[in-house]
Symmetry: C2
Subunit: 252 residues, 2 copies
């Protein structure tokens, strides 16, 4: 099978250059129908990625957060969130990320989480060693929930019953921490966070996260324990340790 990782890195290089040029500069912000913000940096970063895919792999599909899908039923389809954590980007915190995934027949096989300001890039996939800036990484062993570090972006992003499920885990961990968006998943892959729980994620978010975590030796599923694919319901559970994943799954 073709190794698409070098091309995925090219895509992240191109989006990163755009995003760095806008970071901490004043820029107009539009609001989508769900009130989420979008900036010119989101759109231009996604355009840069789309242009490269069209040039190099014109038969591949493209699904992105900011523009309509193209050839979405192609065998190989790229799925992109140019800035995951737009609010972090807008306030100037270097913990947002560009998410780039390659799906084969709607199953993600390769993912990149790129933080272009801090210069951090997690990558991993089927047959692709998990790396942070090119160096091999692995998730952390932490079988005991009472020793675990839990991250989620915001408690308010859960609905009522999902929030109660989250609280059941939160009450048992050693520490919890807020903020972070996709960056938290990178930290699971490189072994400094043990659990990330979120809900309401879109396919352009979660498709890039799962391959990185799995390649690093962790587990990334929905709240039922099912593998992540394009059709997952957006409730994510990522753990660095398999035993821990099983325990958290019971609590959710």
């Amino acid at each position: 099978m073709t190794n698409f990782a070098p091309f995925a890195h090219m895509l992240a290089d191109s989006s990163g250059a755009v995003i760095r040029s806008y970071f901490r500069t004043p820029m107009p912000v539009d609001y989508k129908t769900d009130e989420s913000p979008v900036t010119i940096a989101d759109r231009e970063a996604e355009s840069a990625i789309r242009q490269l895919i069209e040039e190099i792999y014109p038969d591949h599909g493209i699904i992105g957060e900011e523009f309509p899908s193209i050839r979405e039923d192609a065998e190989y389809c790229w799925i992109i969130d140019p800035i995951d954590g737009t609010k972090s980007f807008m306030i100037g915190r270097p913990i947002f990320g560009t998410l780039i995934a390659l799906m084969r027949n709607k199953t993600p096989i390769l993912g990149i989480i790129d933080q272009p300001i801090a210069g951090e890039r997690w990558c991993g996939g089927d047959g692709v060693q998990a790396t942070l800036n090119g160096a091999p990484i692995s998730s952390r062993q932490c079988p005991q929930i009472s020793s675990a570090m839990l991250c989620t972006t915001a408690r308010e992003l859960f609905n009522e019953s999902d929030g109660r499920a989250y609280d059941r885990v939160k009450e048992r961990v050693k520490y919890y921490n807020y903020g972070g968006d996709c960056y938290n998943y990178g930290l699971v892959a490189s072994g400094t966070v043990d659990i990330v729980i979120e809900a309401g994620l879109k396919a352009h978010d979660f498709c890039a996260l799962a391959p990185v975590i799995i390649a690093a030796g962790g587990v990334c599923t929905d709240w039922e324990g099912k593998a992540i694919d394009f059709y997952s319901d957006g409730r994510m559970l990522a753990c660095g340790d398999k035993e821990l994943h099983a325990e958290v799954l019971k609590l959710l």
Copy 2:
């Protein structure tokens, strides 16, 4: 009056070198009586700072988070939190910070917020231009609360009545965001965040924050609108815009 800013930068250089050497490495964690974590990096970073003060200004006082106070009633007294946001440090997020303040007769006159991984250092004080990495900065005009970006580290850090006060502000802003610790105050000073509201801060946290924000043209007080000094109650309100500060103060 002596300009102590160059010496404060020396202090931050010394703590930053220690912290970088431990970032994302496995290290033992101790727990203080309030269950907050402390690592060898916290202790060694504070020791590095203390040693320099003892060498260069042996008549100055030192108050730090990790060791007993020395000459705390001296006219000039340094007050230090070696790692504010220890949990962010432990999980490998580059948005914790080293806080270094100089007080004169218990009033903070100089502050540094140093992020040694991202390489970002905010500085400012009485007669000391607010800067980020040496470049002049100023806070952002945002008189309308409905346009404002609000940050706080975690909703859970408020007690019940303080939490309700926070919610009154949160309901009126354009956006809110969690996580960040001292980094949020740096972003107010450099103009990408409009409001930070927190409670329960200690003197070694808030003494460094207020001089930076005030020097950048913002306002930083307690929830009654009183200027920050060593005896403040730990409830902080930092705003980039004076009109916005007055409006938020009414809601709190």
